[in-house]
């Protein structure tokens, strides 16, 4: 029993230490945003890497998500003659929940892994130490631009995903399920409120922060050559995915709990 309690205590202490290190890492990195030198070119480059190059994967997943959602909600709602709610369900689900979460998870897989692998490789090949010896703060040069780019670009990606997702639902609704196009569009717009979109965009900004931060953190602290970089990449994707789902609940509760 004592051994069990010791194991639980040790795990809890490890959790607290890791959380503390992560918070310190995030705080120190963000603090560099308030003092020169600034690297706007690097931030722009990372915005293109994270945002623009994620468009195809986010767009594809969004369109299929919208299509499946329309199909599933139609088959479900038709059991109690509520087919008319399909358009509303699609738009609310996509803007509030599926747009940000699916985009966040896709970006975690594509970008979080790439960030961890790139920074992890830089760590194990002494490139991060080289930055320091060249009077360049690695947190300012490597971490801050990626974190800012994540915060800025993910809401933009989610906005695109929302539009594409709703369009996917429209395609299935109109061309497969036989909805009147005007009626479907009316059903989409009439129930949509600003808070639905805004809550999704807030989630997206937080998810962008999480994905970039976890990628940077895991890569920055990777050790032990190629195996260490691989481990960092896995940890980055797994930890950011779990955090996305956890934080998704917390933000949803904050916005919509009555």
């Amino acid at each position: 029993m004592l051994r069990f309690l010791a194991a639980v205590g040790a795990a809890f202490l490890t959790f607290l230490a890791t959380t503390g290190r992560l918070a310190l890492f995030a705080g120190t990195s963000l603090a560099t945003a308030f003092t020169p030198p600034f690297y706007p070119g690097v931030i722009l480059r990372e915005m293109v890497n994270i945002g623009y190059f994620s468009l195809p994967v986010v767009g594809l997943t969004a369109v299929f998500t919208g299509m499946v959602l329309a199909l599933q909600s139609y088959t479900g709602f038709s059991r109690f003659s509520a087919e008319g709610a399909v358009a509303t369900v699609v738009v609310l689900s996509v803007t509030r929940e599926l747009g940000p979460v699916i985009s966040g998870l896709m970006v975690a897989g594509r970008v979080g892994a790439a960030i961890a692998a790139e920074i992890g490789t830089m760590r194990v090949t002494d490139q991060i130490d080289a930055l320091t010896t060249l009077s360049t703060d690695p947190l300012r040069y490597l971490v801050l631009p990626r974190v800012l780019a994540g915060i800025i670009t993910l809401p933009l990606l989610v906005l695109v995903a929302d539009i594409i997702g709703v369009f996917g639902g429209y395609l299935v609704g109109v061309y497969k399920l036989g909805f009147n196009p005007q009626a479907y569009l009316n059903g989409t717009w009439q129930r949509l409120e600003t808070i639905d979109v805004v809550s999704g965009l807030v989630k997206a900004a937080v998810f962008g922060f999480i994905v970039a931060l976890m990628g940077c953190y895991q890569g920055y602290h990777s050790r032990g050559g190629a195996q260490g970089v691989g481990r960092a990449t896995t940890h980055a994707v797994v930890s950011s995915s779990i955090l996305i789902l956890l934080v998704d609940y917390l933000i949803t509760a904050a916005f919509f709990s009555r």
């Binding site: 030198p37 690297y39 830089m122 090949t125 002494d126 490139q127 130490d129 080289a130 320091t132 010896t133 060249l134 009077s135 360049t136 703060d137 040069y141």
Partner: protein
């Protein structure tokens, strides 16, 4: 331990650093005078790289003092450390070139990012430094992955000296190079130190390299300097550790650690 009575360029006292239970540096003392080329020799895993990383501030020692130009540097805050870094140049063992940048961008990196120099001016300096290590402008636009190991080392050397640092550290500068390329690198280091008057601290277990580039050699064993003296004295040091090391004998006071501690 200094060669002169003036304030040493680098002064290390009582430096201690451990990783887990392994005590890597155990109260190490060493000085390096201004304009001197000091080579620290020692077997693999004896803490040579750890010593340099502690001086550079890349690792935090548990105890001891590191003074640069008489100023204590242990515990410096981030801003002051960045300022101090402008005195240093570093050639890493694996070159540590940024593979996302071209050759000239690597050489100019510290000038542009660290010192805020505009890119055209930094490019001019980078091309001049590349020329000084025997690389023409045609190399400057290549990616570092396109270079051979010897060329990467030369680019890394050009990057280390690009900002005319007061102190340059060389971590195993000839490891992994063929003898001829190793000698080319040694010549470039000697040129850098003698002509420019830079203070140089090199760490190596290549005795050919050590004899060529050192004014003074120090031997590191079990976390301490067990011998130091002018290069000319190395062959009659009277120190059993040094004798075993420079002659490459398996028998002697140095016992090779087969397993990691």
């Amino acid at each position: 331990m200094t060669a002169t009575h003036s304030v040493p360029k680098i002064s290390v006292r009582g430096l201690r650093k451990s990783f887990g239970r392994k005590q890597v540096l155990d109260g190490l003392d060493i000085d390096c005078a201004s304009g001197e080329s000091l080579v620290v020799i020692g077997g693999s895993g004896t803490g040579k790289s750890v010593l340099v990383k502690c001086i550079l501030g890349l690792l935090n020692p548990e105890a001891g003092s590191i003074r640069i130009d008489g100023v204590e540097t242990v515990g410096l805050l981030r801003g002051a450390r960045e300022q101090l870094m402008q005195k240093f140049g570093m050639l890493f063992q694996g070159s540590a070139l940024f593979d996302s940048l071209s050759v000239w961008e690597n050489v100019a990196f510290g000038l542009v990012r660290g010192r805020g120099m505009d890119r055209p001016a930094a490019r001019e300096i980078a091309l001049a430094k590349l020329a000084s290590v025997g690389l023409g402008p045609e190399v400057s636009l290549l990616r570092t992955a396109e270079l051979s190991g010897g060329m990467q080392k030369r680019v890394a050397l050009a990057r280390a000296i690009a900002a005319d640092p007061e102190i340059v550290f060389f971590d195993e500068p000839t490891t992994g190079l063929d003898p001829i390329m190793a000698d080319v690198i040694n010549d470039l280091i000697v040129k850098c130190v003698r002509e420019v008057g830079t203070t140089a601290v090199s760490i190596t277990h290549d005795m050919v390299s050590a004899r060529k580039i050192a004014d003074r050699i120090a031997m590191l064993y079990q976390g301490r300097i067990v011998w130091h003296g002018p290069t000319a004295d190395i062959d009659h040091s009277g120190n059993l550790f040094v004798d075993q090391f420079i002659n490459g004998r398996a028998d002697g006071p140095i016992k090779m650690q087969v397993r990691a501690a």
